[in-house]
């Protein structure tokens, strides 16, 4: 407790709050947001690190702190010191077991950013929880116990983070206080991890020596590691690029969630802009019909907008009356996504009941829900060794690659290009449970990957689309995001 430096520059907001609340609010109003996950084994000090981040950013109030101090003495594992882990161990059952059993979300903020942390468990049987937490994350913090080095779990967590497409990886070598802040030990671990990361295609990562328990290199540079010249954890989290900035550079896509018809004179198409930007006058194409029009207005309660960008929920109106309903995708007219009904995909199985080859499931991708059947997996991936294993089905927490076939064409993009149009869930038709998460690699049939003809039309009936000629089955249209090293 005594080593906590609350005067750290990252958190000197109190003075501003007290002196000039308007200035503070103005600053807070312009913060961006970063979502990240922390992955580690049970004893890597993950909960302690998150508890520390909350504590340092003053997200712990006095009454919670009083309860924490009492609990630390009663059930804590740190003797008379504060056990930060108790702050984040939420449900009664897991407090008894001393482990975290599900995904929990935590919040804190600094001068520059608001953070949402997905706290995910390290147990092998909980692969599904980590994949769930990672699906909304821009960044992953992979925790390693400095005494133990790169373990099987480390490899597993890194593989999963990479599989789900997280580009920013922090290798947090924790518990440096227990190895006397040894640079040699740190370098050894980083070298080990580098070899592994390269082998699975992780392009880059940021290693840092920390101690969640003692607070080293969390908010500021620690005097205990003079040999370390990189950023502290918070400095890095505050400056790393967020994914929405990347999405903005891609072609415009908006999956239609709901058609807004308050009266006969207004027809608006409501949805969240997945990628790109759109403004009145821009040419759009509605998929899968292929019909085109131009955007008339971007409607919101606060007045029409000059532009809508990736990440915003908006309502669009068109210049022409063309068919468009839930499940359709509004796209830039000159760069539409593909339409297909057969794919190769990575599946993460999340249900106790194993996958049934040939059974029909619901597939939900953006606002499209269709029937789908899954073929026998080409292979499963051993998440500990990354080896491909021949399997007949996928059990709980198994990850595999398989062909899937939908009962009608869907609008999609490879997951590597577009998380919204490439990520999906499978739903059991009887129990309604979410049984799998999936990521599309590519279409196996390009029959419906058409070259659109000019089809601007005001007719409300009759399809005017013109399909292009089929191409050979099995041609790859894009690299998958989820391939393992060969």
């Amino acid at each position: 407790m005594a080593d906590i430096d609350t005067k750290d520059p990252v958190y000197v907001t109190d003075a501003l709050i007290a002196q000039d609340i308007d200035a503070y609010l103005d600053q807070h109003q312009h913060k961006t947001m970063l979502r990240f996950i922390t992955c580690g084994s049970v004893d890597d000090g993950k909960s302690t690190l998150i508890g520390r981040l909350l504590y340092d950013s003053k997200m712990i109030f006095e009454d919670q702190l009083a309860a924490l101090e009492a609990d630390s003495k009663r059930v804590g594992t740190q003797g008379q010191e504060i056990d930060f882990a108790l702050l984040v161990d939420g449900l009664a059952a897991e407090r008894e077991q001393g482990i975290t059993i599900d995904v929990a979300y935590r919040f804190f903020s600094t001068e520059k950013r608001k953070f949402i942390v997905a706290d995910t468990p390290g147990h092998e049987q909980y692969t599904r929880n980590m994949v769930t937490g990672a699906s909304t994350a821009d960044l992953a913090v992979i925790l390693i116990d400095a005494r133990k080095g790169v373990l099987t779990q480390t490899r597993r967590h890194s593989y999963l983070a990479h599989l789900i497409g997280i580009r920013n990886i922090v290798l947090a070598v924790n518990k440096m206080d227990l190895v006397d802040y040894s640079q040699t030990r740190f370098d050894e671990i980083v070298a080990d991890y580098t070899a592994f990361a390269q082998s699975i295609g992780i392009a880059g990562f940021v290693p840092m020596p920390i101690s969640g328990f003692k607070g080293d290199n969390i908010t500021g540079r620690s005097a205990n590691t003079p040999w370390y010249t990189g950023p502290s954890l918070i400095e890095h989290l505050e400056t790393v690029e967020v994914a929405t900035a990347v999405d903005l550079a891609k072609p415009f896509r908006l999956p239609v969630q709901w058609v807004n018809r308050p009266n006969l004179d207004f027809r608006g198409f409501a949805g969240l802009v997945a990628t790109g930007a759109i403004k009145p006058g821009d040419a759009i194409r509605v998929l899968p019909s292929g019909k085109t029009s131009t955007v008339k207005s971007v409607v919101t309660l606060g007045g029409d907008l000059p532009e809508a960008i990736a990440g915003q929920s908006v309502t669009l109106t068109f210049a022409d009356e063309i068919d468009c309903s839930r499940g359709d995708v509004i796209a830039a007219a000159d760069a539409p996504p593909e339409v297909s009904d057969q794919f190769e995909a990575t599946l993460v199985w999340m249900a106790d009941e194993a996958m049934h080859v040939g059974r029909s499931y619901w597939l939900k991708l953006a606002s499209q829900t269709v029937s789908v059947t899954v073929h026998q997996p080409k292979y499963a991936v051993n998440v500990n060794t990354m080896e491909h294993v021949a399997v007949k089905t996928l059990e709980l927490n198994a990850i595999g690659v398989a062909q899937i076939a939908t009962d009608r064409p869907i609008v999609f993009e490879p997951y590597a290009d577009n998380r919204t149009l490439g990520g999906f869930i499978l739903i059991d038709k009887i129990t309604n449970a979410t049984v799998a998460a999936g990521m599309l690699h590519f279409s196996l049939r390009r029959a419906q990957n058409v070259h659109w003809q000019a089809t601007a039309t005001t007719s409300a009936t009759g399809s005017t689309r013109t399909w292009g000629s089929p191409r050979p089955t099995g041609s790859r249209t894009s690299a998958g995001s989820a391939r393992s090293p060969s």
Binding site: I17, E62, W258, I309
Partner: protein, 301 residues
Amino acid sequence: MAKTLTHLERLEAESIHIMREVVAETERPVMLYSVGKDSAVMLHLARKAFYPSPPPFPLLHVDTTWKFREMYKLRDRMAKESGMELLVYHNPEAQERGINPFDHGPLHTDMWKTEGLKQALDKWGFDAAFGGARRDEEKSRAKERIFSFRTASHGWDPKNQRPELWNLYNARKAKGESIRVFPISNWTELDVWQYIHLNDIPIVPLYFAAKRPTVERDGMLLMVDDDRFPLKPGEVPVERSIRFRTLGCYPLTGAVESEAKTLPEVIQETLLTTTSERQGRAIDKDAGGAGMEVKKQQGYF
């Protein structure tokens, strides 16, 4: 173009996305409206999500008859302004037996709110109910999904929640089952205040400091809001400058002494304060450290 959305813009977009999914995928949604600041934000987001249509679902207030008078006033005003139907439900058994917070302790919350909510959802056959709970409020809520399933008897099973990936929500359910949906799950208390500030959203004046009649009981500062408040022998209401950080039934909601009369001042005080929001509420302290988790399993929101 270097525009990056701010955290509030991203939170707003997420909440609107969630509400539209519910309207598209469920048969009879309803918005639980408790008249507090979180409800105020949720209602505003709903109006944004469906503009220029009014939100295509009614507001439901599961009333206990013990809310602050100012809350009833704002409730009726907001229903009118939003163009939404307002449904008010009173548990007939609680009404008949005169269940009140002074004489019946935890039974008051159980009968009026927990039982009342279940009865109301059954009565109108709602299959999805929006609630304004946030994950930063309380430990068990940090682990609850945005789409949280309830059995036909309204129970919650924390170990059997559906995984929620990306922004894909599985709204499928069997007949009789329902979903509680929390569109502002990822907002913090500060986000809520800031959003109210930026969008000029009307809130109950009790959030601002004013001289009000109070008595002190069990370390809590209670407001004497009407003459049903039974004063103990020798107890005399004292005028104090107070405000509320959270609003519920007035005999169960503790006030804080404050001079914060404007929204920035309230936010300032909130940020500098060192006690958490729910401390003013008696409910979290029931059943040891796991009060809310147990209540949720029984069907409390």
